[in-house]
């Protein structure tokens, strides 16, 4: 947290900000934490740590500004600095490779061929959720922030500490990867029904 301390809040002001501006985002924070860690206890710890940090650094938060983005930034940094290290997930090695590999028109073209809007609408929640969860964490994160939480590119850039152009291209790639997964599910759904018919 590099923000300069703007002012000092009184105890009463701190309580007002915490209850009025921070706590209402607990649902979104937990959803984000759970999709990062895939573990209930880790998600709880991560959310709790985030709120404790937010309280400790409350003087660097300007009342009335975007509390949700501010909190998400803290959570994401806590995850990277603490949880990612101790979790069993593979380290970030895969990310660069994945990003480079999928930055090609081939994948882009392929991924949009035989997946149709109708088959997506027919999918069950588990399939969408699994597809999202299977993405590398950096791709998963941009989709969560944009599509689930409705952050703007500018807000995402601040949360992730990356330029807006990177937000846009990472999102685009993330969506192609997601479509690739969904396409796999859609095909499986097709095979399954055929098999059933034969029996």
């Amino acid at each position: 947290m590099s923000e300069v301390q703007r002012r000092k809040y009184s105890q009463e002001e701190k309580n007002t900000i915490f209850d009025g501006e921070f706590m209402p985002h607990i649902d979104s924070m937990y959803n984000f934490a759970y999709r990062l860690t895939f573990d209930e206890d880790d998600a709880k710890d991560l959310v709790q740590d985030t709120y404790l940090k937010a309280y400790r650094f409350i003087n660097s938060f300007e009342q009335g500004t975007n509390a949700k983005a501010w909190l998400f930034r803290i959570l994401k940094n806590s995850f990277i600095n603490e949880y990612r290290k101790k979790s069993k997930q593979p380290a970030k090695v895969d990310y660069q490779e994945v990003e480079t590999y999928y930055n090609s028109d081939d994948v882009q073209y392929q991924s949009t061929t035989d997946l149709r809007a109708d088959s997506v609408k027919d999918m069950l929640g588990d399939e969408i959720s699994n597809a999202l969860n299977s993405l590398a964490v950096d791709f998963r994160t941009v989709i969560i922030l944009c599509d689930l939480e409705g952050f703007t590119y500018e807000e995402m850039a601040k949360i992730l500490d990356i330029p807006i152009g990177t937000v846009r291209s990472r999102l685009h790639r993330a969506r192609n990867l997601l479509k690739e997964k969904l396409r796999g599910y859609a095909q499986n759904m097709g095979y399954n029904t055929e098999e059933e018919e034969e029996i």
């Binding site: 105890q11 937990y30 809007a117 999202l132 944009c146 599509d147």
Partner: protein
């Protein structure tokens, strides 16, 4: 969004630049484009791949939003946080 033009049947079957077009359509869906209405109308009316991509992306966003945001927050979490805050006050 009501778009009667969508069924005009005069769309070209090959997109001139899917990479550029699709990224643009995604920015529009994300609400990140000014004056997006005219661009969108034109693209959807004239290009079949763009038309399909737009509707696919829209469907995915809808499903993500309705199916992936309902993680139930443990009851005790908020109380737990408040209690910890009391301790450091």
């Amino acid at each position: 969004m009501a778009m009667n033009e969508e069924t005009s049947g005069a769309r070209k079957l090959k997109c001139d630049d899917t990479s550029k077009c699709f990224e643009l359509l995604e920015s529009i869906l994300d609400g990140e484009m000014d004056n997006s209405k005219e661009v969108l109308k034109e693209k959807l009316a004239k290009c079949q791949p763009c038309f399909e991509h737009f509707h696919l992306e829209q469907a995915i966003r809808d499903v993500l939003k309705t199916k992936c945001t309902k993680q139930e927050v443990p009851n005790e979490l908020a109380d737990c946080i408040r209690q910890k805050i009391q301790e450091i006050k």
